[in-house]
Symmetry: C2
Subunit: 224 residues, 2 copies
DNA sequence: ACCTGAACACCGTTCAAGT
DNA sequence: ACCTGAACACCGTTCAAGT
């Protein structure tokens, strides 16, 4: 790669994301980013004030990749389900970087678009301003956490290392005292990895939507 | 402090937690931990294999501080509510460190005790082994995320800096285009900070429990 | 305008040594 | 057994300089 006019926020955010995908967020350093572009570390400081801004850009890039479904005439909870599903679909390819989104949803336009859409749906559902704000925040953060804590994923490890880690975890949990932890031992396999990622995410999203509906029901009985 | 026989895993985990509370997790370094005990950095390596083990111990300490309610005869969802409330109560004093728990619940006995209790309650509710495992994991991780992403908190900042950050965030959100983000602008205050932490956590926990009950209801209709 | 180079204060971790 | 000291390879960031 040449080192002339080839740098930009966008391209550096893309490289940072690739680096996080390959080796984990802790491997995203100013120096390694510079190295990938055959450039001095200091060259990056033309495009970013500091390292945190690199992570801001990375999070923005991730949020921009959410394919927000167009509003339609179905009930709010079905549309919420689809919005959260789209959110998860955007994050799943990037489990190492997804956690960076947590404090940054309201810090970029793509994140604000997602938040705005969520608030619209909760307003349709009858939530007041404050309840909608806190519920939207919790729903979006829960979805991120679903990806970050997917059982059996290992930060920045290749498939083989991942399988070894899962096997080791299963062995450890299975070897626990069945007297003290009978349910943990019985569930060792499911706790160490998902048998089906699709089922894991489908159930997780259903649970979040069900939670919002539960809160909403309480709202309505309070009004009545 | 003397430097003779004064070090131990427990005491170092305590110092690490205090350091995280005061200045954020990124300030928890081997060298600063050693400094707080008037000791050479290398002295810590008698008690920990590497830095990650320090975080493991810190997480274990946090999980050990959960005051798990004694089982009683009330319905599973009420007991689940109280268990999650106790979990939140243990984490709230340590918002900077709470995130360290996320991948570590099954890595220590105190965490396993919490997980086992959660699995017992979900089994009472009628969940199968795999559904209970994934649901327990999601519920506990969501509760952690609730603390980590509490609106308006700032990692390792004092009260004044925190207020400044909240004021700035409110101003930024309020100044957004009301054409593009009407609901975000209207909810600016609630998005930037909680007006009531008690309400925020109460609603958050209710939403998680309601989510579990929603999944359970789907289970029962599938059986019927 | 954009990139380089040298320097500074930090970091985790190794190895060999002290007592 | 427990801690020290010097060293190594890394890190983010500053400042002054090149073109």
């Amino acid at each position: 790669m040449s080192a002339h006019g080839r740098l930009s926020q966008e391209i550096l955010a893309q490289t940072a994301l690739a680096l996080a995908d390959d080796e984990g967020v802790e491997s995203v350093t100013v120096r390694r980013l510079a190295q990938r572009h055959s450039v001095t570390p200091m060259a990056l400081y033309r495009h970013f004030k500091d390292k945190d801004e690199i992570f801001d850009s990375l999070a923005e890039r991730l949020l921009a990749s959410v394919a927000i479904p167009a509003p339609d005439r179905r009930p709010w909870h079905e549309q919420t389900h689809d919005l959260l599903t789209a959110f998860v679909a955007a994050l799943r390819p990037h489990p190492n970087a997804a956690g960076l989104i947590l404090g940054r949803i309201l810090d970029s336009n793509p994140g604000l678009v997602v938040a705005e859409r969520m608030l619209v749906l909760l307003t349709e559902a009858g939530f007041g301003v404050e309840a909608a704000a806190e519920t939207a925040s919790q729903a979006l953060c829960s979805v991120v956490t679903l990806v970050v804590t997917e059982p059996g994923r290992r930060r920045g490890a290749d498939a083989e290392a991942r399988d070894d880690a899962i096997r080791a975890k299963k062995a450890t949990l299975t070897a626990l005292s069945p007297r003290h932890y009978p349910h943990v031992v019985a569930a060792a396999n499911a706790l160490a990895s998902c048998s089906s990622e699709e089922q894991y995410y489908a159930r997780g999203i259903r649970m979040i939507v069900a939670g919002i509906r539960g809160i909403q029901a309480a709202l309505e009985t309070a009004v009545a």
